[in-house]
């Protein structure tokens, strides 16, 4: 059962059982959330084997840290997605050090397993804004700022990688991203 069809309360119950070492609950949690989380990891690291390593590390981490999960502070998918994203970003940065293809290589990077048929990052940002009913707020953000936001969030590109990708000075990218984040923050907070 994918996460989209399971209520946050059910995921909380599963996490509470996982904290007690319940392996059946752990498997149910995996089945319910792994496809969404794997999609997030794959989007960032772009190679299936590396994305599966990220997923493995994230679930091992979740198993070990489940007792520390606090339902009052975050929804289960927020907690799990954050674990996966941070691990994927660390893996991506580590890969850059070790010479693996990074998203800055372009959509057709030689080592990438996912190619141009995936929605572009700006498209994903707009889809998310539609789903959250903040599209009007997002559209009010300048084009370059929106593009920087999308490339950073969905592809994990750093300031310098974004600058390479859109062929703009890194100083401009930093300013665009900062301003874009300020505006996006207001959009999301208005939602809350």
């Amino acid at each position: 059962m994918p996460a989209a069809t399971i209520a946050p309360g059910d995921l909380q119950q599963l996490l509470a059982r996982v904290a007690l070492g319940d392996r059946v609950a752990f498997r149910q949690l995996y089945d319910a959330t792994a496809p969404s989380l794997f999609g997030v990891a794959l989007r960032i690291v772009r190679q299936r084997d590396r994305a599966e390593e990220v997923l493995q590390d994230a679930f091992v981490n979740a198993w070990n840290r489940a007792a520390g999960y606090q339902a009052a502070l975050s929804q289960p998918m927020t907690w799990l997605t954050a674990i996966v994203r941070h691990r994927a970003l660390d893996e991506l940065r580590s890969g850059a050090r070790h010479g693996a293809a990074s998203p800055a290589d372009g959509e057709g990077g030689a080592a990438a397993d996912i190619e141009d048929e995936r929605p572009n990052p700006l498209g994903l940002l707009e889809q998310a804004a539609d789903a959250l009913a903040i599209r009007g707020c997002l559209d009010a953000i300048d084009g370059p700022q929106r593009q920087c936001l999308a490339l950073a969030y969905y592809h994990g590109l750093s300031h310098s990688e974004i600058a390479d990708r859109i062929r703009s000075p890194i100083g401009s990218v930093k300013v665009w991203l900062r301003r874009g984040l300020d505006k996006l923050k207001r959009c999301v907070e208005a939602l809350a």
Partner: protein, 242 residues
Amino acid sequence: MNYDRPELLDRLAAEYVFGAMSARVRRRFQAVQRALPAAQRAVEVWERRLTPLARSVPPAQPSAAAWEAIDRRTGGQASRAVARATSRFAWLKPALGVAFGVIVTLGLARLYPTAVVPVDEFVQQRGTLPESYVGLLTDDANHPVVLASSTRYGRTMSIKMLRKVDVPPGKVLQLWALPKEGAAFPLGVVPAEGHGSFRMADTSEKLLSGVPRLAVSVENAPARAGTAPAPYVLTGNCVKLW
């Protein structure tokens, strides 16, 4: 960089969560988070803000080998689940043993008859450890350094130093509680090495029920309530063991 400025922490946390930091800056901010609870909280706020954006990412099915590896790495297979449940808490036994000893000394055993039972027997009889608050504090390199534990309704905090901390002459290691809301408050002084314990101002339940994090700072003298802590040298989660 002055990390005391909330607006700076907010900006750095946003860029960290968004993924825009380079490897070097990312590692540096991870170290800041370990040392500075305010940085960790700023990150958590941005995680809550931004996670909804991930919902538009198309799901993908991992291979069956992914779950098999996770299962294996977490202890695997139902037949080993019982052993796993016990071993997950094996590292707590020394500290809990100390906590039990102190409780008996204080005459609280009458209130908690199970406390006179050695912790190993208790675990075997009940299949679970006694209700306690437990903190594991780590240094910047993520090495575990302090194990702090106290039974839920006890007033004694037991400390086991997992590695020695170099404390400058005339200084003390002060343990702080970092509540979800409000300022940090001092709990007591921990030794530089070995074991120790101190009596808290109230029961663990009263003091720690709203405290997700603990930290240690180096102070000139034991801190009094209402004083601001020096920079933290060790931080870690405080969890409820029940």
